[in-house]
């Protein structure tokens, strides 16, 4: 298997006036191409910080982050999806989706066509000229995912992207996003504090210990089912839930 993402002994210390905080210490893990990997841990354990490090928004204090074995990877290789959809309310759906291309100054005919094809494929064709407030929460989330996909990233970083949605919508959006990610053959790294979401979506689950963040243990839940919703129906689901829950609680 090809390692797409690899963290080697990554540490991060940040300074405040009162204190020096060791947020992450010797964090090492990797992720193969095509994997869906989740990171779970108690809130405030630095899960989001790990994503910021991978996204290049923060430099690590020590250690290395490699994508395809390279240290200086490009922003194009990554797609970051944040909490809430973060669609700009003054832009139409279409213009929101073009935003990363505008920033990267690559708003070419070809890239635009690709963005349009994604919008068409995932049912947002009629809503291209609409403003975000005219769409449902689920559709907005789908638009946010498409915005992440337009620059054709190799790795998707998902930072609790469903946390702002109500439970009902959350289950279906989760399913939706999973299917799109699999269909586009992307590798994804999800950060969440929701154990069942992690089990339903991922091939590998990394449990983090907090302050400083470190890998506590790794689970590879083998649950039959082609989608998160189907997996939730499996009888093994509860078993895995219990296992991980106990580990988190320790």
């Amino acid at each position: 298997m090809e390692k797409l993402l690899e963290l080697k002994k990554v540490s991060l210390t940040y300074q405040t006036l009162e204190n020096e905080i060791r947020a992450i210490e010797d964090l090492s893990f990797y992720c193969n191409k095509g994997d869906f990997l989740s990171i779970i841990g108690p809130s405030g354990c630095g899960k989001t910080t790990v994503l910021s490090l991978i996204a290049g928004l923060l430099p690590p204090t020590s250690g290395e982050i490699l994508i395809n074995g390279k240290k200086d990877y490009e922003k194009n290789d990554l797609g970051y999806m944040l909490q809430k959809d973060q669609l700009f309310p003054w832009r139409t759906i279409e213009k929101n989706v073009y935003l990363p291309l505008e920033i990267k100054k690559s708003l070419t005919k070809r890239n635009k066509d690709f963005a349009d094809s994604l919008l068409d494929k995932y049912g947002l064709k009629e809503f291209k000229k609409n403003y975000p407030d005219q769409l449902s929460g689920g559709m907005r989330q789908r638009a946010a995912l498409i915005r992440t996909l337009v620059s054709n990233p190799k790795l998707l970083l998902l930072d609790e992207p469903f946390s702002a949605l109500d439970y009902q919508t959350r289950l279906s959006v989760c399913d939706d996003v999973y299917k799109i990610i699999k269909q586009e053959e992307k590798t994804a790294l999800l950060v969440t504090h929701d154990i069942s979401e992690a089990i339903a979506m991922s091939d590998i689950i990394i449990v983090l210990k907090s302050r400083p963040a470190k890998v506590k243990c790794v689970f590879v839940p083998k649950i039959f089912g082609e989608s998160p919703l189907k997996k939730r129906e499996s009888k093994d689901f509860g078993v895995w839930f219990e296992k991980i829950w106990k580990e988190l609680d320790k």
Partner: protein, 269 residues
């Protein structure tokens, strides 16, 4: 959007009730105005109040007409409008540009913060004598007064708007590799458009305060000049007439800004 016809009778009734209420409010507004004007006129005619001191609606109307026909009222209105609009535009532009600079550099913001606080609390009219000495007693001094009164408020309002930009949206743009200038252009400026509109509304009021106050201090023409002059020679008709016209102009300018708001902001926040 469904058409109203698609909804139930209940909904039609609701709409009807809503429209009726709106119509009633409008009627009551005019009725209140008519009542006040009527009482004013009546009391002045009956001698309950002295029309020499309190004037009356009919005397105001006659004075306005006479001012337009005999005196050069349009000239005075023109002068005040010119000072107000010029002061408004300079204050808004300067406030916006300064706010951009302070958003851009946190260090500059921290350095200038105490100065802004002091300038904001200072009653600008205290600078009157200095302004007269520096700019003489003409349009220049009045525009300057309008600008210093408006610029600080415009700056503070706009800066708060810029700083209120959603941190997560900035993070999102950074994850695309956006430069600071791109963040400004794609997010901070368009995102603060509603703040910009409310800043314009506040600045309209500030510009009028500035220009009229300036005219009280130094001018030889304009509506503020007519009001002060009327007060000094006890021509209350002139004071009232100028005030009424001033009200109309200030309202008109506000309505223009509100119209602009409808034109540019098409989304709901």
């Amino acid at each position: 959007m469904k058409k109203i016809a698609d909804f139930s009778e209940e909904h039609a009734k609701y709409i009807k009730r809503f429209k009726k209420e709106n119509a009633l409010v409008t009627v009551l507004r005019f009725a209140l105005l008519a009542l006040l004007l009527g009482l004013w006129e009546l009391f002045a005619n009956l001698g309950v109040i002295d029309p020499f001191i309190a004037s009356s609606p009919s005397r105001v109307a006659t004075t306005v007409r006479r001012l337009f026909v005999e005196d050069n009222f349009l000239y005075h209105i023109g002068i005040t409008l010119y000072e107000t609009i010029l002061g408004f535009l300079i204050a808004v532009a300067a406030g916006y540009v300064l706010a951009l600079a302070l958003w851009w550099s946190e260090r500059l913001r921290r350095v200038l913060e105490p100065y802004i606080v002091v300038l904001n609390s200072l009653p600008k009219i205290a600078l009157g004598p200095i302004i007269i000495v520096w700019f003489g007693s003409g349009v220049k001094a009045i525009v300057f007064m309008a600008v210093i009164i408006g610029v600080i408020v415009a700056l503070i309002t706009m800066l708060n708007g810029f700083l209120a930009t959603d941190k997560n949206k900035i993070l999102l743009l950074k994850s695309f590799g956006a430069s600071k200038f791109q963040i400004l252009k794609k997010l901070v400026v368009p995102g603060s458009l509603p703040t910009f509109i409310s800043m314009l509304k506040i600045s309209v009021g500030m510009a009028w305060i500035g220009s009229i106050m300036g005219e009280y201090l130094v001018s030889r023409a304009g509506l503020g000049y007519l009001i002060v002059y009327g007060g000094q020679v006890f021509k209350l008709d002139l004071v009232m007439a100028s005030t009424v016209v001033l009200c109309a102009l200030a309202t008109l300018m506000y309505v223009l800004v509100a119209f602009l708001e409808k034109k540019i902001i098409k989304y709901k926040n």
